[in-house]
Structures are given as C-alpha cells and as structure tokens.
C-alpha cells in the first residue's frame, strides 16, 4: 500500500512540475500567432 501511495504522490508531483514547465514554454495562441496589427 505504501508503494502505491508513494507512486500516486510521485505521479502527481512529476505531472505538476511538467505542467509548470509546459506553461512556461508554450504561449496561448493569441500571443504566439499575432502581431500588433492583428486583433483576436
């Protein structure tokens, strides 16, 4: 049971770190694909 709980905690921890990492790398479409002359 301890291994299972630790596994779930580790999965959530890694996923959270991955989520923050992805959000810092990728930008929303309105920022990534627009110029000052485009309104979205």
């Amino acid at each position: 049971m301890k291994s299972f709980v630790l596994a779930c905690v580790a999965a959530v921890a890694i996923a959270t770190v991955a989520g923050f990492a992805l959000n810092s790398v990728q930008k929303p479409a309105d920022q990534a694909f627009s110029t000052t002359g485009v309104r979205l």
Binding site: A7, C8, I14, A15, V17, S34, T35
Partner: protein
Amino acid sequence: MAGFLAQARFIIAAFVVALILALAVPAGAQQPSTVNPNAAAVKEQQLLNALQGGTIGGRVSIPDQKSGTLIQPGGRDWRQFHEVTLRWIGAIAILGMLVLLVVFYLVRGQVKLESGYSGRRIVRFNGFERFVHWMTATCFIILAVSGLNITFGKPLLMPLIGEPAFAGWSQWAKYAHNYLSFPFAIGVFIIFLVWIGGNIPNKVDVEWTKRGGGIVGHDHPPAYRFNAGQKMIYWIVVIGGTAVAITGYLLMFPFYGTGIQGMQLAQTVHAIIAVLFVAAMLGHIYIGTIGMEGAFEAMGEGTVDVNWAKEHHALWLAQENARTGPNESQRQPMATPAE
C-alpha cells in the same frame, strides 16, 4: 427448329454484349485526364483528387504562415480515421478483450493455488519495483480513460451528461492526459531498465508457450522470474509505451518535430497503439487480480507464497533458494495485512 432458336439466342446475346461495349468504351474515353476546375459539372471530390496530396493555400500577413492553408485533403482521410475507423478498431479490440475475459472466466474460472498456501513467503518484487509499477499503472489508467474520452466521449458520454459538462470534463481530462504522460514515460523507461534482465526470451519460454502457460487445465510449466506471458506484457509496455510517448509528444509540441501530415500520421499511430495497449492491459489486470489466486499479492505487498512460486515460477524459486537458501523464506500468518 430448336437448334435454330439456340443459334438465334446466341446471336442476339452477342449483339447485346457488343452494343454495351460499344456504348461503354467511348464513355470511358470521354473522361478527362485532368480536371478543369472551371467546368460547370466538376465535383469537389475530383478537385481534391487532382491535388494528389498537395494543398491549396493563400498568403497571410500574420507570422504563422501555416494559417494560409485553405484545403489539405489529407485532413479528410484523417477525420474519417478518427471519426469512424478508429472507433471500430477500438471497440473491437477493447470490447472483444472484455468479452474474451468474461467467457474465459466463466469457462475456466480462477486459476487456483492447487497446493494451497504454505504460510511461507518469498519476496517477489521489492519496494522500488512496486513503486515504479504502480506509478506507471495509475498514470496508464488515467491516460487510457482520458484518451478513450477523445475517441468515444462525443458519441457515448456527451449525450448522457450534456455538452457543458462534457466540455468541462474533457478539458480537465486533456490536462491530465498531457501532464501525466511525463510520469508515465519516466515509469516506462525505468521499467525497461529494471526488468530487462528477466525479460529476454529463452528456450524455457518456448516450452511454456507450447504448454499454453498452464492456463488451460492443471499444468504448471516451469518458468524463471518472468514467464513468456509476462515477457510479452513487458515488451508491449516498453515498445508500446515508447511509441505512444514519442507520437504523443509530437502532438503535444505541434510543428516542432513534424508538419501537419506527420502529425496526422502520429495521431493515427498513437491512437491505434493506445487502444491495443488498453486491450492488452485488460488481460494483464485480469490475470493479476481475479484470474489467478495469489497473483495480486506479488505486486500488492511484494511477497508471494512459496507454493505459488513453486507452481508458477519453479525455476525462479530454485534460483532464489540457491542464492539465499530455502530457510530465508519467512513464515507468516495466512492473513497477511496489506502494507
């Protein structure tokens, strides 16, 4: 007279065939070799076929030049795949496996521990192995449910819970699918490293397979730490897991690794492997839980009864006894509490 009638019928039939051919050949010859897009009766499908995999695009002023693509005929094939073909493949694979398991359970029943519990336990998987297994397994289940939602959610779930609820659930399922792919991929890689030593096929696997793994009847073909069935699951996880990870990351980072056609191919491969993966894991979950008495303890608490090891992994037990001595096995009460 009868001969004359037969001859007349033959002549008339030959004439009709000749007439049909005479009418058909010029009609076929009239088909243009190229499509005139300005023709009044031109069909959309003819135009798409004439593109021969190419695209129709224009010029755009925003930085993303890909947005200039107006028509990409390959997208229609891809849509047909994920809206129709994939659903059939997934339904046949997953429901087929479920039906197979139910029928097998009803016919064969649980594989019992025939010699009964000895009360002596032997360590089957250490804490780290169980940790990696459960991390990968829990992620896999969430990835499977959230992935199947993409394929089957719209026709099956949305009519039941309504569009707003389905939209909210699907959004969170997609987040979970993206983010939990990382611990899953790490888990698959560690599983590859930790268990590769015991999963190289050998002669014992041939004999084990010839005897059907003892799953039918009361045979107990010997096996080392992993039998041929477990090795098959191992390689499905390693190869299948790697394939879905690579194709998944191609989709998670659009246009970094490949173009639109490459991503359509990646999604096709990702989806087909994923549904087959789910079907295979259903078999794995079955045999590891209700399918075989004493099997879940191996990954649940890390130890198995010595009699279980003797029946299902006799060669491994002999190796362990030679390494540590048979007296190393711990005598424990029958009802061992979960860790």
